[in-house]
Subunit: 309 residues, 2 copies
């Protein structure tokens, strides 16, 4: 009985140390050191290579070290009956919300425009808009998107939200389903993308849907790169449809040095840091799930594979 | 009986229109159109030239169209017994807090460093610090500073505050007085300056006090330029003591085109827009005060000239 820690993580050593503290009796192995695949009962992974999870005949659960499970579900060898367990937040909501608030305030308070004025030593005042007169939209109302929407509402913004199925959130105008997309997007002067990446959402923000945004809208993508069609985004920035974009995620990561987004004057690039899983919280949550399963219980927070999240 | 609207305002026409709506019976004049100075009973001003207020023999109250009254108190001709009335907020706290949150998140989430990485197409991840592990300080705990501190605490930051006299705010470690300055500053990785400008606070943040900040601290000044000794700030930025500064206010405004702050890579300049007085709210508040005084009452929210705020 041992745990596979899929070792493509930058900070695998920190995870190993955290697990040794909370699960001192369970050996933690990597793919290189694991010996007999049949000994692995639990896998703790982040974007494993396809095929890795299919090699483990006695696997009981897969734990995903992040919010989105698209990196697991794309694996065709994935055993059909093994539960995939998501972390409950683990400090991610706070970080995502900080990032979303930053992006919202950046455009709401014209810091993009003032940066241009500063380059010209130009002291030009723009009128401040009331937060209540600023429509901000959150696309995706899971744990993370809902926290973003709640904090934006608390700061007084005119917040809308969109989700696949109907939701109700206090102080948020909620839209849902395919029929709600255009009505939702048409009121988002600032759009925060917090969708999971699924077959339905891949390429969701394409030229047609970007055109539904108000002219001069700003985009904040803190979810997954492939939700947005990068060429269409670039065209919308070039053509003036979009005022700017704050992007944490990309089709290819690390973002290749020759990708024009790095150098685009209307784009802020960050290297997928909107949320980092907190090692201690994450290890403690996974340890609690493993103990529950070892005592015969079922894991909580499992992924619905048909939905993709 | 009439009201003087001191006409150096950029948006004097909007103020005039707003006053005509809420006080239709009182003529609103400018210095050029006022005729007999003895007819002026109330003055509504923003940074009037010295001497203007001393010319009005029957003045009963001076209303300041902004948060800080340093622009009035520096006038040696100011009649000693005329109450100076400050606006209660008028939408300013919300704006100030947005600006302060933006500055805090900018440094807390390393957007300054990522901007440097972006210029080099460098995909380098920095570890996110927990908000609770990030000490942020608010210097000045009036209506505006207290709102900033409360919202920062709500977002989970480790918030300290400093004020001249003792204060108690929920979830804020409060320091006060001369004796508390060093202990306060030594824990501010991000310092928000929200002090009034008085004889005591002019030049408050000089080389000696800046040295009390932790190495690599960031400064956000959204109050008044002369609170900070500009040469000492530049030296601290150059020498690496300070990581960066977000500055809305300056010794001379508009900031002269040859001032090095415009071009400093560690400085973000905005043109005194952290808070703009909301015309409708401001006019409604002043109208209510004037009605109270016309019915024999005393104005509220008057300035204590000995304190300077």
């Amino acid at each position: 009985l041992s745990i596979l820690l899929y070792n493509k993580l930058d900070n695998a050593d920190r995870w190993r140390a955290a697990f040794q503290e909370v699960l001192p009796d369970l050996p933690m192995v990597t793919r290189e050191t694991m010996g007999e695949p049949g000994e692995i009962r639990y896998a703790v992974v982040w974007q494993p290579e396809p095929g890795v999870l299919g090699e483990l005949p006695n696997l009981r659960a897969i734990f995903n070290l992040g919010a989105g499970v698209d990196g697991i579900l794309r694996d065709a060898s994935l055993p059909a009956d093994i539960p995939i367990v998501r972390l409950r937040d683990a400090g991610m909501a706070t970080q995502i919300t900080e990032y979303a608030l930053y992006g919202t305030l950046h455009y709401h308070r014209d810091f993009d425009r003032y940066a241009g004025f500063q380059r010209a030593a130009d002291w030009t005042e723009l009128p401040n808009r009331r937060a209540g007169d600023r429509p901000v939209g959150v696309m995706g109302l899971g744990v993370l998107g809902a926290d973003v929407a709640a904090k934006l509402a608390m700061l007084g913004f005119d917040v809308s939200g969109w989700s696949r199925s109907p939701k109700t959130l206090p102080d948020v105008s909620c839209f849902h389903g395919d029929d709600g997309v255009q009505a939702f997007l048409s009121r988002c002067e600032i759009l925060i993308v917090a969708l999971p990446l699924t077959d339905d959402t891949r390429g969701f923000l394409d030229a047609r849907r970007i055109a539904w945004l108000p002219d001069g809208a700003a985009l904040v993508n803190l979810a997954r790169g492939p939700l947005v069609v990068e060429a269409d985004l670039l065209a919308a920035l070039e053509g003036g449809k979009l005022r700017g974009a704050l992007l944490d995620v990309f089709n290819e990561e690390p973002l290749p040095a020759d990708n024009p987004l790095w150098r685009h004057p209307k784009v802020i690039v960050t290297p997928h840091i909107a949320a980092q899983t907190r090692v201690r919280e994450g290890a403690a949550q996974i340890a609690a799930e493993i103990r529950r399963m070892e005592e015969g219980g079922a894991p909580s927070q499992t992924v619905d594979r048909s939905l993709g999240y």
